[in-house]
């Protein structure tokens, strides 16, 4: 088991993950570099997306009315690289039609002097619509992130 990160690191990671939700929900795409690394990659059942423009393209696949994003249940671990941490969260999406969608984020974040930056995000839907097309999140899969 990896070492526990400092509580300040955990809080900074949680803040970055939450800010991603706020920025996406409010269409503040220009601020995504606040929490995404330049080499950010998002992997989802819909494909692979690069950088902040890729994150926007992925989120806008939802259509005219983007769902509200919520992130909960976050765990953070150190990796062998002291400049990188991994996080495993559940996401909850609230749709325009008042329905819920849920799944997992497996994240790799780079620690910088300006706060953590997401380097890689894997989106793994659970339940309706997701059905583990990319497999499901697990401890083994999470701990392979940044290993």
């Amino acid at each position: 088991m990896a070492a526990e990160p400092a509580i300040e690191t955990v809080h900074a990671v949680e803040q970055a993950l939450a800010l991603y939700d706020h920025l996406v929900d409010n269409g503040e795409w220009e601020h995504l570099p606040l929490i995404l690394a330049e080499d950010f990659t998002l992997v989802a059942p819909a494909g692979s997306f690069a950088g902040a423009p890729g994150a926007r393209a992925y989120e806008e696949l939802a259509g005219e009315h983007l769902p509200a994003h919520h992130v909960i249940n976050t765990q953070v671990e150190t990796t062998a690289d002291p400049g990188l941490v991994r996080a495993w969260s559940r996401y909850l999406l609230v749709t325009w039609e008042y329905e819920a969608r849920a799944g997992d984020y497996l994240d790799l974040l780079r620690l910088t002097g300006d706060g953590p930056r997401l380097v890689r995000r894997e989106v793994l839907p659970r339940g309706a619509g997701g059905q583990f097309r990319l497999g499901h999140a697990s401890f083994e899969r999470w701990r392979a992130v940044g290993a």
């Binding site: 939450a18 509200a68 919520h70 819920a100």
Partner: protein, 152 residues
């Protein structure tokens, strides 16, 4: 973006207040509202006491308890010593199983007793259609607003 100005202990304390708010509201537990808000607090521009009167009337008129709120996604930004802006989200699960979402934008201050309290809260129902029981809504909070002290 730097969050270094807010200590871990303060972050934990502020998040505890955000959690306490949903318990106060969902339980209509108004005698504990002072654990969340300062005495002079304003909610959506209104004095808190007036807002609570409205909530109490709404809760009393409903055949079922208020939909349970869950608070998520707090991001904190120190705007001055002892003053922190918080932008968080909430979702509610309604009695028919449907789910709704919204945002809170708060100004936290360290109260005279040393504990953090909300001095000012704005709430948004996020994006909701015209047919929503609480009325239509469109998002209006921004990163700039979050990082700006209330009233500026």
């Amino acid at each position: 973006m730097s969050a270094a100005a807010i200590s871990a202990a303060d972050r934990v304390a502020i998040r505890a207040v955000l959690a306490a708010y949903v318990q106060v509201v969902d339980n209509a537990d108004w005698e504990h509202v002072h654990e969340v808000f300062t005495p002079e607090a304003r909610f959506a521009g209104q004095p808190l006491a007036k807002v609570i009167e409205g909530w109490a009337a709404m809760v009393a008129s409903r055949p079922v308890p208020l939909f349970p709120h869950q608070c998520t996604d707090p991001v904190l930004y120190a705007v001055a010593p002892g003053v922190v802006r918080s932008w968080s989200k909430f979702f509610t699960v309604r009695t028919d199983g449907t789910i709704t979402s919204g945002d809170y934008l708060d100004t936290f201050v360290r109260h005279a007793d040393g504990r953090w309290r909300i001095r000012e809260r704005q709430a948004s129902l996020g994006n909701r259609p015209e047919s929503d029981p609480f009325g239509p809504s469109r998002r209006s909070f921004t990163t700039t607003l979050w990082r700006t002290a209330a009233g500026e």
